[in-house]
């Protein structure tokens, strides 16, 4: 994992002092509310329905146990003892006091953490695959590039006042995409060209929100050393020509669509030609040095499927179910990747208490070299667990509520905070998630259904990624009543697509039945190896419509 040096520490310290200064001026009335707004947003501070909200950055999802313990303390000392993992690898506090925020940021800075650029019209936290560096199927580890991008984007002087927020995601797995890169403002996909050189495929102009779009590729291959200058060229074109007259048309996706991807690519290329040889061009030394921070931990020489594991698997169906769903293959023999699901029925998606954060820190120290990752599906990963200790870990996870064996299934939903917390909501989302989880409480049935992404957002801002759920649920307001619209066929993976609306919306109490009907259509029509998405793509919308509105 990246370790700060004197430069990073100094810069972060000065940031905390700067924000303290700004907060004091704001509280004294020397800064008007709208002048303070972008300053606090770029330090993670939002003002919400009931209270301020602080969004703390977890760069590309990586955390050390020491950082988790500090997050737990902050959650306890400055909030109500619980926090919320978001869909962009961040952690949110829901009730901090504005005047305490500089102290929170100072406490975070002591463990090399911050809330930089987690909100506001700037370049946000760069995200990536939670299995980076430990999966078998990976071109190279994407994290060194994420850190280089993080540093480049941190307090970038030219891009702090963009037309709108800007999100970058990186994927390095050729067979799947756990980072949803095609629905980001910029998606970068590591791959090799015919000459075997390393570089990125560049998607621009994807995004969710009220105009969901899958981003087009504007360049098939940009060599690794050129990635920062190329990003700078894209951002400069966007900063100059993105719309600023209408907030709803200000994302880069609107600019790319209006100019056409071809023309937009030409503008970027022309700009890049001018700056490609500036000192911003990465050096081989910088890439090598950065890679040196993401080396392998001290793995032992082990065999796959040790007796301790195989015996436990045959002894317990519950363990075996969990192993099948929540444990993934590791690149090293004898190791496994374990996902802790934060999707226990009755607990809002992504919520964790201070004690749970501490428990995760202890587990990381005991089982996974003191590191964890957080995922955009709002779960937590222990990436380096010995297979012969999986059963022991499972036993430890169960009382903590982290062993619900539903990873990737219908009840492992993405869900935004919705009307319970969010001022922009049209409808509540947490109770809908819970009602669906209660309806589908039979694990064997869930396993039989296989991988299904069900995503819920409380309004068209789409924080819950409903457009790219295989089943998407969107809260809508009809004459002051909460209703829910369903879309089918979305995906955020390599075959990214935006779901299509099923038809008129439903009342909340009907939602579990409606989802059951949709699932039944799949069960009736599927062939043996088809996932829900495959079946939907083959048979289309009509059979679902007929059943649900019958």
């Amino acid at each position: 994992m990246y370790v700060y040096d004197e430069y990073d520490r100094q810069i972060l310290k000065e940031r905390v002092v700067q924000f303290r200064h700004q907060t004091e001026r704001a509280l004294r009335g020397e800064l008007e509310e709208h002048e303070f707004l972008p300053l606090r947003l770029q330090n993670g501070l939002y003002v919400q329905r009931f209270a301020p909200m602080l969004r703390m950055a977890i760069p590309y999802g990586m955390l050390r146990s020491r950082q988790l313990r500090r997050l737990a303390e902050v959650t306890r000392d400055f909030d109500k003892g619980y926090a919320h993992f978001t869909t962009r690898q961040n952690l949110q506090l829901n009730w901090p006091a504005v005047e305490d925020v500089p102290d929170v940021l100072e406490a975070l800075s002591e463990v090399e953490m911050h809330a930089n650029q987690t909100s506001g019209n700037c370049i946000r936290n760069t995200t990536t695959d939670q299995f980076a560096g430990v999966q078998k199927d990976e071109i190279v580890d994407p994290r060194p590039y994420c850190e280089l991008i993080r540093q480049w984007s941190t307090y970038h002087p030219e891009f702090a006042f963009l037309p709108r927020k800007f999100k970058i995601a990186v994927n390095a797995s050729p067979s799947t995409d756990r980072a949803a890169v095609q629905v980001h403002d910029i998606g970068l996909e590591l791959h090799r060209n015919d000459a075997g050189e390393l570089g990125f495929r560049v998607y621009v102009g994807g995004g969710l929100g009220r105009t969901p779009m899958v981003g087009p590729v504007i360049r098939e291959f940009i060599p690794e050393r050129d990635v920062l200058t190329y990003l700078e060229a894209i951002l400069r074109v966007y900063n100059r020509y993105g719309r600023r007259d209408n907030k709803f048309k200000a994302r880069i996706k609107i600019l790319v669509k209006a100019t056409t991807p071809e023309k937009f690519a030409e503008l970027v290329e022309a700009e890049w030609e001018q700056i490609r040889n500036t000192p911003t061009r990465l050096t081989p030394e910088a890439i090598e040095q950065m890679k040196g921070f993401f080396t392998e931990p001290d793995y032992e020489d082990l065999e796959d499927n040790p007796p301790a594991l195989t015996e436990a698997l045959s002894a317990s169906k519950a363990f075996s179910n969990w192993h099948t769903r929540n444990v993934s293959e590791h690149k090293k023999p004898g190791y496994a990747i374990v996902t802790l699901t934060l999707k226990q029925t009755g607990v809002p998606t992504g919520d964790v208490s201070d004690r749970q954060l501490e428990a995760i820190a202890d587990l990381a120290d005991e089982y996974s070299f003191g590191e964890v990752r957080v995922t955009h599906e709002q779960n937590v990963v222990l990436a380096d667990v010995r297979q012969d200790r999986l059963q022991e870990l499972w036993e430890a996870l169960r009382p903590l509520g982290f062993a619900t064996a539903n990873l990737g299934t219908l009840t492992d939903m993405i869900c935004c905070p919705g009307g319970d917390f969010c001022a922009l909501a049209n409808a509540k989302s947490i109770p809908v998630a819970e009602a669906i989880q209660r309806e589908f409480d039979d694990l064997d049935f869930l396993y039989d259904l296989g991988d299904i992404d069900l995503n819920i957002s409380g309004c068209m801002n789409a924080c819950g990624h409903h457009h790219v759920g295989n089943i998407g649920v969107l809260g809508v307001d009809k004459k002051g009543q909460e209703f829910y619209q369903i879309s089918l066929g979305g995906s955020s993976r390599r075959d990214a697509s935006v779901g299509k609306i099923l038809g008129p919306s439903f009342a909340r109490e009907d939602m579990p039945t409606v989802v059951k009907d949709i699932i039944q259509v799949y069960v009736d029509h599927r062939t043996e190896e088809e996932t829900f998405l495959d079946t939907y793509r083959r048979i289309g919308m009509s059979p679902f419509k007929e059943r649900v509105y019958a």
Partner: protein, 167 residues
């Protein structure tokens, strides 16, 4: 009198900013120091060669490319921030300095507040017509908030990765 911040301290701003005229009206070039709208200055540049106290200003939607060939004919170029949250001026400043080689004073005008000064300086500004209600005594701190920066920009084109990991 409003304040003009330069890197050597606080000055009094005695420059007039001339606004674009309404349709059909002519522009009077003031007696004293003034910044003309860029397009007007371009039209009049032949007659203004004797004046060393006349520059031009660009609004945030204007293209500095249109003035690229003439930048060093003026002692001052202003870049307007109609609202402080309109970030186009930062790109304009970098282009004027890095692409078109402007060497004289680059001045931020309009909604110029304290908390943007550091970014402005990095993008090539060296003078700031601070909005009148802001305390100019805070400017020095705000111009120098950070002792290092990750990126290369106008003030220092060497990104941190080249400094900490020299080849």
């Amino acid at each position: 009198m409003p304040n003009l911040i330069r890197h050597d301290g606080i000055h009094t701003d005695n420059w007039t900013i001339v606004h674009p005229p309404a349709e059909g009206e002519a522009v009077e070039v003031p007696e004293g120091p003034a910044l003309l709208p860029a397009a007007i200055w371009k039209d009049k540049r032949q007659e203004l060669t004797g004046r060393n106290d006349i520059g031009f200003w660009l609004d945030s939607h204007e293209e500095p490319e249109d003035l690229a060939d003439y930048v060093n004919e003026v002692p001052v170029i202003g870049v307007n921030f109609p609202k402080f949250s309109d970030g186009r001026g930062y790109s304009i400043a970098r282009l004027l300095r890095e692409r078109f080689g402007f060497r004289n004073e680059l001045r931020a005008v309009g909604d110029v507040l304290l908390d943007q000064l550091f970014y402005m300086k990095r993008c090539g500004f060296d003078a700031y017509a601070l909005r009148e209600d802001k305390n100019p005594d805070d400017a020095e701190y705000c111009l120098n908030v950070f002792s290092h920066a990750y990126q290369g920009a106008v003030d220092d084109d060497t990104p941190l990765f080249r400094r900490r990991w020299a080849s």
